[in-house]
């Protein structure tokens, strides 16, 4: 069960808020300082991707982020209401032609998170990232 859940309107301005929440929850959960930057960057990438997808495909649907611990790992799941196959990130004429390949952000996430799982669910596309917790501050510590 997620420790914290965040839902936000798919606007770029809110991605920073999701990063700040993720950093706070990660630190509280026992993620080491060395990994916090990676957590923040990975969450930012996943949320930016979700925002772009929502704005093109389902602008009325919120982006959902669930954060918490599962055993000895810290997990973050970003739920994108669109599907991977339906994502038309390069089709918006308002956007400059992509200077980086489609899927670039997923590659960045894969380089940052210890483990990444991407799956299609009934609610949309789930990007689940996880990192190991330090041994001294495991799940269950009081807030």
């Amino acid at each position: 069960m997620a420790t914290v859940e965040v839902t936000f309107t798919p606007l770029p301005a809110h991605v920073r808020t999701a990063r700040l929440v993720a950093s706070a929850v990660a630190r509280r959960s026992g993620i080491t300082e060395a990994l916090l930057d990676e957590v923040r960057l990975a969450v930012g990438e996943a949320c930016s991707r979700a925002v772009e997808s929502h704005r093109l495909n389902c602008p009325g649907e919120p982006v959902r982020v669930a954060l918490g611990t599962q055993g000895d790992r810290f997990e973050i799941e970003v739920l994108n209401a669109g599907s991977v196959s339906a994502t038309r990130l390069a089709g918006d004429p308002r956007r400059e032609p992509a200077v980086v390949p489609t899927g670039f952000s997923l590659a960045v996430i894969a380089g940052l998170a210890d483990d990444v799982q991407i799956s299609e669910t009934s609610a949309g596309t789930s990007v689940k990232m996880s990192w190991p917790l330090s041994g001294s501050v495991a799940a269950g510590s009081p807030a």
């Binding site: 770029p12 920073r16 400059e96």
Partner: protein
């Protein structure tokens, strides 16, 4: 010295030895990156093809920001220009390493070093 400022991203630029220095302070992400993109486009349109982007005060950079920098590099190279970066922060350099873009950009420790390197290549 031209200034564009918001709580998330501050952009300053000035000319030094014929090279336009862009000082970036704050976070470059999906929300703020368009402003940096617009500035780089404006500078190129004004005829500034030798650019140095100083990222020593950048606190966050994601793939959107990388895309803006790559776009800027493409624009100046279309005019036989250059876009170099100044960055010593490991947490910012990490995303360049992950993406392999350390091989694409000249990344220097100081603005003066970036200028000297560019001048010596002319």
């Amino acid at each position: 010295m031209a200034l564009e400022e918001s709580v998330d991203l501050k952009l300053l630029h000035h000319n030094k030895d014929g090279i336009e220095i862009v000082d970036v302070e704050g976070e470059i992400d999906v929300y703020t990156a368009p402003r940096l993109r617009e500035l780089l486009i404006e500078l190129v349109n004004d005829g500034h093809y030798q650019l140095v982007v100083n990222m020593e005060k950048v606190e966050f950079l994601d793939s959107t920001g990388l895309g803006v920098l790559v776009g800027g590099l493409k624009r100046v190279r279309a005019h036989d220009g250059s876009l170099d970066l100044v960055c010593t922060q490991e947490r910012i350099l990490k995303i360049f390493r992950i993406t392999g873009l350390t091989k694409v950009f000249g990344i220097h420790d100081t603005v003066d070093e970036a200028i000297a390197t560019r001048k010596s290549e002319k």
